[in-house]
């Protein structure tokens, strides 16, 4: 595929006897939002960690715009233009919100070994603009540790965007958020993708989010890729329904609860 930004090619990884990811290949185009879904233990996080360099694949290749990522450190992959957010948002708790973003900008500059000027005065405008982008400028000077979780996630997003990445990796971006916050965060992501021409690879268990915002889905089960395609096709896929969606009643409008009650009591 010529226009692909990220190419994952026959990647495998096992832990001892557990084959967490087997021979998985897919591509991600520029400007695309690709969701990686699958049952628990399917290997999503493992695959994810291989893309961002925290884990090394046993076999296979992962290329970003043609250059090989396998064997590089997370830091180097970051320099190549990959940003990421974590499932449990990770920010610097002893800094204010804006300082968190400034930190990312200082690292991009790179200015980490400057010893004299006060860090809090550097890159402040740019950091402010990023905070405005994600809508937390109102909290800029509060300690990051007192923010509501939804806002922490936004700060994290601003940090991940600071170096102008081409690819954004988001591991369960909406975990631990309320339904409308989820939608807001994903709508924000969608908008940023449009404005900045980013591509996004994310894992997610929240189906409303996946169906509403993903351009394409890749489904893993027991380490293998079992389906990929647009949301409609995946929704209809019998195999995916069986191993992943189930009856769909926990994320779609519920049928009369009594029916489930009987099923549950068996």
């Amino acid at each position: 595929m010529a226009g692909a930004l990220l190419e994952v090619d026959r990647v495998s990884r096992s832990f001892g006897g557990v084959r967490a990811v087997r021979d998985v290949s897919f591509t991600l185009g520029a400007g695309e939002l690709l969701a990686l879904i699958g049952p628990n233990g399917a290997g999503k996080s493992t695959l994810f960690n291989m893309v961002n360099g925290q884990l090394r694949p046993d076999a296979g290749s992962i290329r970003l715009a043609g250059s090989e990522l396998v064997g590089r450190k997370p830091r180097e992959i970051w320099r190549l233009g990959v940003g990421r957010t974590f499932q449990i948002a990770a920010t610097f708790s002893s800094m204010t919100v804006i300082e968190n973003v400034q930190m990312a900008l200082l690292s991009r500059a790179p200015r980490l070994y400057h010893l004299w000027r006060a860090a809090a005065r550097l890159h402040r405008e740019e950091a402010w603009a990023l905070l405005e982008d994600v809508g937390v400028q109102g909290q800029a000077d509060r300690p990051c540790s007192v923010l509501a979780y939804g806002d922490v996630k936004r700060v994290e997003l601003a940090m991940a965007l600071a170096h102008g990445p081409r690819l954004l990796l988001m591991d369960e971006p909406t975990a631990g958020m309320a339904p409308n916050e989820r939608r807001e965060l994903m709508a924000l992501t969608r908008r940023l993708v449009g404005e900045r021409g980013l591509s996004v690879l994310f894992t997610e268990h929240s189906m409303d989010v996946v169906f509403a915002y993903a351009d394409r889905l890749v489904v893993l089960a027991r380490g293998e890729l079992i389906a990929q395609g647009d949301p409609q096709a995946i929704r209809r896929d019998a195999r995916v329904q069986e191993v992943y969606f189930g009856s769909g009643k926990t994320f779609e409008r519920a049928r009369p609860a009594a029916a489930v009650g009987q099923e549950g009591a068996r």
Binding site: V18, G41, A148, A178, H205, Y244, T250
Partner: protein, 237 residues
């Protein structure tokens, strides 16, 4: 059957100097599944922790089976028959799956069928494959299942269940729903903290809605689902 199993009266809770819960009162009757709903940061987890005795800063009355447990240590509360499933899993990563279950084991309680490791592995088949693996090597969702199973090993009469549907696949959410139904069938009561209205609707009889540490609503699930106003102002659904 008139006396509630769990009765919380005027519960206030603090983290350090931050006042989080204000005069929270709720009750759970025998065999009932009650959902505690609310946005992020509304205080759901805090309520469960406070009931369990895990917060040093709290005041108010918590009665379980008619006995005041609000001054007890968490282990005493647990021995009284209250099980707690934390939202952040907190499995023992260095221990195997089976050893994790062993930590939760408590003697059977009168009037309740006792859980065994085998029964629990039937309930969560994913765990069976991993029973001798160290728990830290399991995926997020598998760990979530283990947390629930571990608490059930204590044969609780009432389970405080903090967002069991979080971070697990839809099929597993359904599995959790079935498990809740099954527990209910056995006479175990559940206080469930949940943001997913679909899920709450599937399993619970009644709901309380928390907002900024205050109880804003209580009623049946049907009423809650029908009440657009409450849903919009406090649940953001």
């Amino acid at each position: 059957m008139s006396e509630p199993l769990l009765q919380v009266d005027g519960l206030d809770a603090f983290y350090g100097r931050a006042h989080i819960l204000f005069d929270v009162s709720l009750e759970v009757r025998r065999g009932e599944v009650v959902a505690l709903m609310g946005r992020n940061g509304a205080g759901k987890s805090t309520t469960l922790k406070a009931i369990m005795g895990l917060l040093p800063g709290r005041s108010g009355r918590v009665a379980f089976r008619g006995r005041d447990v609000s001054r007890l240590e968490p282990y005493q509360v647990s021995r009284a028959g209250l099980g707690y499933v934390p939202e952040d899993r907190r499995i023992f990563t260095d221990l195997t799956v089976e050893e994790n279950l062993e930590v939760g084991r408590q003697p059977p309680r009168s009037g309740l069928a006792a859980w065994t490791v085998e029964k629990l592995l039937d309930l969560f088949p994913n765990l069976r494959e991993a029973r001798a693996r160290s728990a830290g090597r399991m995926s997020g969702g598998e760990q979530q299942m283990l947390t629930v199973a571990r608490t059930l090993m204590g044969n609780p009469r009432l389970v405080l269940l903090d967002e069991p549907s979080e971070g697990v696949a839809p099929v597993v959410v359904e599995q959790m729903a079935r498990m809740i139904q099954e527990l209910k069938g056995q006479g175990v009561s559940i206080l469930l903290s949940e943001q997913n209205l679909h899920f709450a609707e599937l399993v619970s009889d009644r709901a309380y809605v928390l907002e900024k540490g205050h109880i804003r609503y209580s009623g049946t699930l049907e009423d809650l689902v029908a009440d657009e106003e409450v849903r919009r102002s406090y649940l953001s659904v």
